[in-house]
């Protein structure tokens, strides 16, 4: 049952074939079994159970129309504020922080009847591309993962015990989460296989959400996408990842990485599911002045889709060095499929793409430096004991609260923003950003409807290989196909296409025009129909006690 799509789960609920409570319990059970993947950093099973109960009531006779997501278990990336539930951004800085309000996206999901299973793992503040830079340890890709079952029961018990007292004040900062101890080297010990290192990264930064959806912990999830943080893990985990147009989804309550590029991301197992979630989430939010005030027209995707006459552009600059043969092959085949189906496929040029990563590095660091200024330990978050002076308190709290990657970006950002450097870096980067954005505009103005590109260079890399290079290097490699889209603010979706020769998923990315989600999702659904991608099915786990 947990490998159903959201859409079919909804119809089963409507038809009474299953109940919201049953679905919820199954997901909780799955989540508990898959703790070793480290997808959830905070489990909200109690909340889920009460929400499921509420949703179940919605389906009972005579209680009106149930919400659009009534009874659907979902997960939310741990950088969306959840009222009363810890929202840590996988950082020591916010490890003690439970927001007093819900992010608009979280609220809309809850209003739609969704059931919150938990908060998902990410790279600290979303700064990373593999979900390895988390204080809770890395998230593991469920594809080709060797599940350990021998000590499963014991492991679960331990986790339950720790979960009983997350607020225990005596907990050392570094050991208050069970997975954190794993990070320090004991997790695999507990799992009984010290030598198990050849698992694959989940992608990032929204790796936890991608894994949760791919492995059946939930039917849809929220991530965020600043440079590819939704599409990259969706591609690695073989699911659909949607980054909508900037301004369509509210960022209110999404703890920002780069305000001018952040977009809430949607994870689902099918394009239809993504559309259902988008319909529930999209629209103007008075709390976010950057959302567009126009009324949102819900997207309904027919099953019978024709791509005849559609103009698909293949950007010639999107052949980055290091792209695997599998990916190129999948890309070429998909272009041929479009061509065969009567679409017009032509090569286009986005000449400024090559500067995108550099431009992003500057703009990202600047906004990070600014956004992180509020974490001073005064109003909320980590406050250390160094009270020699206010400055000392700030310095110490911020030193202990942030990891090297975050501190490095703050440092660089402050450098770029210095009065003497502003013109040379920030302004220049903004001009380059305009050029990159204009590239897309030009292509679309010349009659191209959608762009087809790879999502990632390859299938999901192995963790031990990934961590051989630093965050900065990896980000540059990982974000190459996804990140120009954020600079331009256009929508993009990654769809799982096929398996690589390693047996890992490969996704392709469709890039649409501003607020052209409907056209983009239609083509994405068509691609999905052509590929019959073999989704991950972990239902065998249900047989194991």
């Amino acid at each position: 049952m947990l490998s159903l799509t959201l859409k079919s789960a909804l119809s089963q609920l409507r038809e009474g074939k299953t109940s919201a409570k049953e679905l919820c319990e199954k997901c909780i059970e799955r989540a508990a079994k898959l703790r070793e993947l480290n997808a959830l950093v905070t489990e909200t099973f109690q909340i889920a159970r009460s929400q499921a109960e509420h949703a179940a009531a919605g389906y009972s006779v005579g209680s009106g129309e149930p919400g659009p997501l009534a009874g659907i278990p979902v997960a939310v990336k741990d950088n969306f504020c959840t009222k009363g539930v810890r929202t840590s951004c996988a950082s020591h800085m916010l490890q003690n922080y439970a927001p007093p309000y819900n992010a608009t996206m979280v609220q809309k999901m809850a209003d739609g009847g969704a059931v919150l299973i938990g908060k998902t793992n990410l790279d600290e503040y979303g700064m990373g591309s593999a979900s390895v830079e988390s204080i809770y340890g890395a998230t593991r890709n469920p594809w080709k993962y060797r599940f350990s079952h021998r000590n499963n029961v014991e492991f679960e018990n331990q986790v339950e015990q720790s979960n009983n007292g997350p607020d225990n004040e005596n907990n050392d900062l570094y050991t208050s989460h069970p997975a954190m101890r794993g990070y320090k080297g004991s997790l695999s010990e507990r799992m009984g296989d010290k030598n198990y290192t050849d698992w694959h990264v989940a992608g990032g930064s929204s790796g936890g959400s991608a894994v949760a959806v791919a492995s059946g912990i939930c039917f849809g999830a929220l991530g965020s996408d600043t440079g590819g943080s939704t599409r990259n893990p969706a591609s690695y985990c073989g699911i659909v990842g949607l980054k909508s147009t900037y301004g369509l989804l509210s960022r209110h309550g999404l703890i920002p990485l780069v305000n001018s590029m952040d977009v809430p991301g949607i994870f689902s197992r099918s394009v239809d599911d993504a559309a259902i979630l988008l319909n529930c989430l999209a629209g103007h939010d008075v709390f976010d002045s950057t959302t567009v005030p126009d009324e949102y027209n819900p997207i309904h995707l027919p099953d019978d889709i024709s791509v005849k006459g559609l103009h698909i552009g293949i950007p010639k600059e999107y052949h980055a060095p290091g792209t695997s043969a599998d990916v190129i092959d999948a890309w070429r085949k998909m272009a041929d499929m479009f061509d065969n189906a009567g679409a017009k496929v032509s090569q286009v040029s986005l000449p400024h793409t090559q500067y995108s990563i550099l431009c992003y590095s500057v703009l990202c660091c600047c906004e990070v430096a600014s956004n992180m200024a509020r974490y001073d330990g005064i109003e909320f978050g980590l406050r250390t004991n160094d009270m020699a002076s206010t400055e000392q308190l700030y310095a110490d709290s911020r030193h202990k609260g942030f990891n090297d990657v975050v501190r490095g970006r703050i440092f660089a950002g402050n450098y770029f923003l210095l009065r003497k450097n502003y013109e040379r870096y920030f302004l220049k980067a903004q001009r380059v950003r305009r050029l990159i954005s204009d590239d897309f505009r030009t292509v679309f103005n010349n009659g191209v409807d959608l762009l087809l590109t790879p999502t990632t260079l390859s299938d999901a890399p192995r963790h031990d290989w990934y961590v051989q290079e630093d965050n900065r290097t990896r980000s540059v490699q990982q974000d190459v196909y996804t990140q120009p889209i954020n600079l331009a603010g256009v929508p993009a979706v990654t769809v799982p296409i096929c398996l690589s020769c390693n047996g890992l998923p490969i996704g392709l990315q469709l890039i649409g025009q501003h607020f052209g989600e409907k056209q983009m999702l239609l083509a994405a659904k068509w691609m999905e129909q052509q590929c019959c991608f073999p989704s991950l099915n972990l239902d065998f786990l249900d047989q194991i006690p």
Binding site: F80, C81, T87, C89, L94, Y97, P99, P100, Y101, A103, R251, H252, G253, L254, I255, P256, V258, N259, S260, V286, F287, D288, S289, T290, P293, C366, E367, A369, S370, M372, A373, R374, D376, I378, E379, F380, M387, A388, S389, T390, E391, L393, Y394, N414, L417, L418, R419, Y422, F426
Partner: protein, 719 residues
């Protein structure tokens, strides 16, 4: 008993922010900066130098909610009760621009003659401070909402020019920005306490060109700006509450030479402080330069007590604010009727033309109208306009009548305003209706009553607004006697009834109410009264004396009109006219003058002073400076009176003279007598040994027990 002086002189550095607490700098220390060297400079050297002053004004926008959040903006609300998630910079919150603030700033910019930018943008200005929760302030550095403006204002400095002068100030820009929170430094505990109620309140920062030449010049501009803001209703202009704050950039140079190094004097919170701080700073800089020293580019603060500027202790390091565009706010677009995009709802956009139509008559236009339409002088017009609400009153009194505008203007700006000042109410709050003032002016015009009686009539009506002026005059039989024979008779009668005639120069002791002294002029032919007897209790207060002289002088002037009038509380003699000239001095309790800035209540005089850290020190200061003592409250009425007095001040708590003795009894500190009346705020037994009074609208005046040397409180002297 007194707190050890050495402690007060120790400068204690706050462990949190490195600031030196002012509370530990004893005021005499600040004063010790010698003023003498300034006086040495004669006017000649002063004339060679030219002061150059530019102002930065922060005006809090009088909207009910903050610039980017829905929190309320009431002044004086309980700590941290007006703080939304955004104001506390909780992660994930976003700014939402308050339309009211934009409209208010556009209205203000239009009134100040600015060019409105059709597109303006917001920037982040970064610096770390505990009362700035986001680590940056949202402001408009690069593209403000308005640029370039012109404001006409009137400078009236009798020391420089006999007549008021009209002049123009040029503005550089007007920008929208957020206010910060407030930090309170508790030096003993080594803590800083943060109040975020003010954080995020909308500010209009108004920057002028550096064109002012003197303190009086700048102060006159601020006064004009305050009036404009009040007329517009976009800022209440209350400098004491921090709604309007002024920073001044000051430099001096010699004619024809490049501008000098400037200093910045921050947070001037009254119009007088603006004038005095700038004057002091110009003098100081001239003095330094004359002595061959250089001026440091520094930030200074103004001590209004000492009348001096002092370098800020936390020397502002040169900060790089790392400005960056605010990514969460789209550019702010403003439209006029021509550029208005089609098909938009008026509620979705802001039209400059629509706001232009809301512009009321501005102070400058009021002055022009008063001069042109009613023939007032610029000074008269300026006086009428300078008080909020007085123009409307003037218009109401003049309206549809043949009243003499001069009489009305003079009566309003002299007698009426001085009465209101005495009662400490504003024109708007006054219960006296315009009809009554009209009546009084008519009676004045017809010589039915004297100016002095006119003032008393208004006083009576003030106390009981249901009466008409005619009622009051009739009931009290205050109509002026103009028949010379009748007057002569009356005066002769008085002289014979009062055989005591003190010789010139005699002093009359106070405390004899209803006593009337009549002194004929030595020279019967003289039509000018000579100063014969003038008395009141000896006062150490200089201001009081000068007041008295003014009063005598005014009597001389009245003498010229052959009528010298005074009243006696019993109403026996109302007017005397004769070749024989009389002065009458009724000495009643009411005439005991407390002096400038002092408030009178039930026969005692009260004066609020700013801050010490022990009640003993406060008592000493009362004794030294005012020949008074720290207030001793003995009745509910007095308690309320003192409470209201301290409620209008910046420090929330004021010392009173009560102190707990070792036996646990509360006694007055100067004579050790038991405290009989008490008004504790809390029922439970107090833990501390000193006491202060605090006032709130909700609970009235109440006492709190305080740690004897922990707090920096205001105090009230009584004599």
């Amino acid at each position: 008993m007194a707190a050890p002086l050495n402690k007060m002189r120790t400068e204690i550095v706050c462990r949190l922010c490195g600031k030196i607490s002012r509370s530990f700098v004893h005021r005499p220390l600040l004063r010790c900066q010698p003023k003498r060297h300034l006086r040495k400079h004669n006017n000649q050297s002063r004339e060679k130098w030219k002061g150059v002053v530019g102002l930065e004004i922060h005006a809090q926008i009088a909207t009910s909610s903050k610039l980017f959040s829905g929190s309320a903006t009431h002044f004086g609300a309980p700590t941290n009760t007006q703080v939304s998630f955004f104001d506390a910079a909780l992660p994930g919150t976003l700014p939402v621009l308050n339309r009211g603030c934009v409209e208010a700033s556009v209205l203000t910019a239009l009134a100040l003659g600015c060019d409105i930018n059709r597109v303006s943008k917001f920037d982040r200005k970064h610096y770390f401070y505990a009362d700035l929760p986001a680590g940056y302030q949202i402001t408009q550095q690069r593209q403000p909402i308005a640029r370039l403006g012109k404001v006409q204002y009137v400078v009236y400095d009798p020391a420089v020019n006999k007549y008021p002068v009209q002049t123009v100030a040029n503005l550089t820009q007007l920008q929208l920005e957020q206010d910060s929170g407030k930090s309170l430094h508790d030096t003993d505990e080594g803590q800083s306490l943060i109040d975020l109620n003010r954080a995020g309140v909308g500010l209009m920062e108004i920057v002028t060109e550096p064109e002012f030449t003197s303190g009086e010049d700048a102060a006159s501009f601020i006064k004009e700006l305050q009036l404009i803001l009040q007329v517009l209703g976009t800022c209440d202009g209350k400098m004491a509450e921090g709604s309007l704050r002024v920073d001044a950039n000051i430099s001096v140079h010699k004619q024809g030479e490049p501008l000098g190094v400037r200093t910045e004097v921050k947070n001037l919170n009254s119009i007088r402080s603006v004038a005095k701080a700038i004057e002091f700073e110009i003098e100081r800089q001239i003095c330094e330069l004359e002595r061959g020293r250089s001026i440091a580019n520094e930030t200074r603060s103004f001590d209004p007590e000492a009348g001096e500027t002092v370098p800020m202790r936390d020397k502002e390091k040169i900060l790089d604010y790392r400005f960056m565009p605010e990514p969460n706010l789209p550019p702010l677009h403003l439209y006029d009727d021509k550029s208005m995009p089609e098909g938009v709802k008026p509620s979705d956009v802001i039209s400059i033309d629509a706001i232009q139509k809301r512009l009321p008559e501005l102070p400058n236009q009021m002055r022009e109208r008063l001069q042109g339409q009613h023939g007032l002088t610029l000074l008269q017009a300026a006086l009428i306009v300078s008080e909020e609400g007085l123009v409307r009153l003037f218009d109401d009194v003049i309206c549809d009548s043949k009243r003499n505008p001069q009489t009305v203007a003079n009566f309003l700006s002299n007698e009426y305003l001085s009465l209101l000042n005495k009662r400490d109410v504003s024109v708007i709050e006054s219960p006296v209706r315009s009809a009554v003032i009209g009546e009084v002016c008519d009676m004045l015009e017809n010589s039915d009553i004297s100016l002095k009686i006119a003032k008393r009539v208004i006083e009576e009506v003030f106390d009981d607004p249901s009466q008409s002026a005619a009622d009051v005059v009739r009931e009290n039989d205050w109509r002026q006697i103009t028949d010379e024979e009748e007057l002569e008779k009356l005066c002769q009668q008085i002289i014979s009834d009062h055989p005591q005639r003190p010789s010139p120069g005699n002093k009359i002791k106070s405390g004899q109410p209803d006593q009337v002294w009549i002194t004929p002029c030595p020279d019967n032919k003289t039509k000018f009264a000579q100063e014969q007897v003038w008395t009141t209790r000896q006062s150490s207060h200089k201001k009081t004396k000068s007041r008295q002289k003014d009063y005598v002088r005014r009597q001389h002037v009245e003498g010229r009109s052959h009528v010298f009038r005074t009243t006696h509380s019993s109403g026996a003699c109302r007017a005397c006219y004769l070749d024989i000239y009389f002065t009458l001095f009724p000495l009643t309790a009411q005439t005991v003058s407390c002096g400038h800035l002092w408030k009178e209540f039930q026969g005692s005089c009260y004066f609020y002073d700013y801050g010490t850290n022990t009640p003993e020190a406060a008592n000493e200061l009362c004794k030294e400076t005012h020949d008074a003592h720290l207030v001793k409250i003995t009745s509910e009425e007095e308690n309320t009176f003192v409470g209201k007095l301290v409620s209008k001040t910046t420090l929330p708590i004021s010392w009173i003279a009560a102190k707990r003795s070792e036996s646990g009894e509360w006694k007055w500190i100067d004579n050790g007598e038991n405290v009989t009346f008490k008004a504790w705020a809390l029922k439970k037994k107090s833990v501390f040994n000193c006491a202060g009074i605090i006032y709130s609208d909700l609970t009235g005046a109440s006492w709190v027990s305080l740690n004897c040397d922990l707090y920096y409180c205001g105090f009230v002297c009584e004599r």
